[in-house]
Assembly symmetry: C2
Homo-oligomer: 326 residues x 2
């Protein structure tokens, strides 16, 4: 380990973190405090993205960006801290669609992005300009510059993701997911390059929703194959702790899809893609079963309340990556 760690310091290589919104952004923030700088490549899901009021809104990308910039609202889990709501009040007054909350400050990002996209800039270029301006050292990229839109199949028919998630408050019973556009979507260029980099140190699947945050990234053409082909370890952190999702509908979805709401079921869902799996102390009884899948388990505290929790968990995941690495 000591030698590996030194070699790691001498010969840095990319660390890929696949992320959705809140849970993923928390671990990404921890990773961003480990002096990886631009070696940290946070790949954000765009399946949640949608066009609303003429604006292109990228909730996961923005949660990652705001979190890494220290601007996020930690209470709500989305948007910016110290936010104002005059825009929403005026929109409601004018009869506009007001089911999706957009804060006054947050709007600047959506407006700026929509304008730059209309000028022909790619989502990658827009995101780079914004993250540089906000002083974020890590590279934050969308999983693809091509649009992919998650449709949630429910017992009442298919729903666009934000209609399911925000408008209908995750109430419809889920039967499956379709990622519109994914067959023709190219993984983002830096992401592809990092996957093929012989110095790649790890692919970290953050504790975001496996079905709607991580699967869209993994389902991009060539990504699973590249993740299997790389000698770098693939390590997932369970978003399920003691049968519950820390935030969001992951546990509810698992029940509706007929699988146990457990950390083990998450490990089984990712299957042989994984080299390592991080589960909470509360789920240590599932560690042996994870090992039985041929996946190295790490039992630790995975609930990230404080910044110290985020950094400590990130350190442990990177240590596991060194341990499992080639």
């Amino acid at each position: 380990m000591a030698l590996n760690s030194q070699a790691d310091d001498l010969l840095p290589g990319p660390v890929i973190a696949l992320s959705g919104g809140v849970g993923g952004a928390k671990l990404a923030l921890g990773l961003s405090r480990l002096d990886l700088d631009a070696d940290l490549l946070v790949v954000a899901n765009v399946g949640d993205d949608f066009e609303h009021l003429g604006l292109t809104i990228c909730p996961d990308l923005d949660t990652v960006t705001y979190t890494l910039a220290g601007l996020s609202d930690q209470e709500k889990g989305w948007g910016r801290a110290d936010e104002g709501w005059r825009f929403m009040a005026a929109l409601d007054q004018l009869g506009g669609e007001s089911w999706f909350n957009l804060g006054d400050s947050d709007l600047a990002l959506h407006t700026l992005r929509t304008g730059l996209l209309a000028e022909g800039k790619s989502l990658t270029q827009v995101t780079r300009a914004i993250t540089l301006k906000l002083g974020i050292a890590a590279r934050v990229v969308p999983m693809s510059d091509d649009p992919v839109r998650t449709m949630v199949q429910t017992s009442n028919g298919a729903l666009a993701f934000q209609h399911y998630f925000v408008r209908d408050r995750c109430e419809p019973v889920v039967t499956g997911f379709v990622f519109d556009g994914i067959a023709g979507a190219r993984p983002q260029a830096d992401f592809l390059a990092a996957l093929a980099d012989p110095d790649l140190r790890a692919i970290i699947i953050t504790p975001s929703n496996p079905f709607v945050s991580i699967d869209p990234i993994l389902d991009l053409p060539g990504v699973r194959a590249a993740a299997r082909a790389t000698p770098a370890p693939v390590i997932a952190v369970s978003p399920i702790v003691a049968g519950q999702a820390i935030k969001g509908p992951a546990a509810k979805m698992m029940a509706e899809l007929g699988m146990p709401s457990s950390a083990l079921a998450v490990a089984e869902h990712y299957g042989d893609l994984l080299d390592g799996f991080v589960l909470d102390h509360g789920d240590q009884d599932q560690a042996d079963a994870v090992a039985g899948l041929g996946i190295h388990p790490l039992v630790t505290g995975t609930v990230m309340v404080s910044l110290a929790d985020r950094v400590r968990l990130a350190q442990e995941v990177l240590a596991l990556a060194r341990q499992l690495g080639p």
Copy 2:
């Protein structure tokens, strides 16, 4: 006059008010308090409109709308009262173009409009939906659903209107104006219909800037001819009082264009289009010269400080229209 007034009450017809921003909106507000309801057709200049941050912004249309809805900021003369500025602060933080101020509440209108235009709605349809929602009884329409963009010719070259007006604070010396797109722009349908309406009561040229607020409307194909052909009187209210513009660069422009900054010069500028011209007590020495142009002068108080001023001036203009009418 008494008979005319009764006939007027029995047989109402449209009253057209041509308007730019602040000054025009003040008189439009006065007119809107005279129980004209939908007979009042406020035709707003769109030459000031521009695309900014991906949004379609219509400053004159919005000033009229906010003013008639009682939402305008009377101090600033644009935007909404009780406005917030988080959006601008965040935009600046992200490195976006921040020379044009957009308030947090005001943004709802621009965003809603841009989204509806992108869906294929016309500017007329969007404006109607918004003014109805805000409880405005008068009809407020853009002068055209086709884009017309005022270019200000200056000694330093041509500038898009908002670049001249806001970004460069009207500092460049003006040599002329070009209204891009005007040759192919159709006057808005209700405006055309009212111009041809045999019951048309008056065309009122509000005290907005003659060169950049009113001329774009008059220069639309067919508008001057229709204004000349109608038996209804055309009456302008001078935006120049005692050699100064109440607000904006009208007087500065007149000096730069080599004409006196006077009410009389405004009357001469509109020329034989006018049947009546309303000038301030302070300019009563010019009334005879106005009459010498074949234009009926009305000397009264034209500076609108209070709502009562707006209503009283509107009443006097309508009374003059009845006096000059067929």
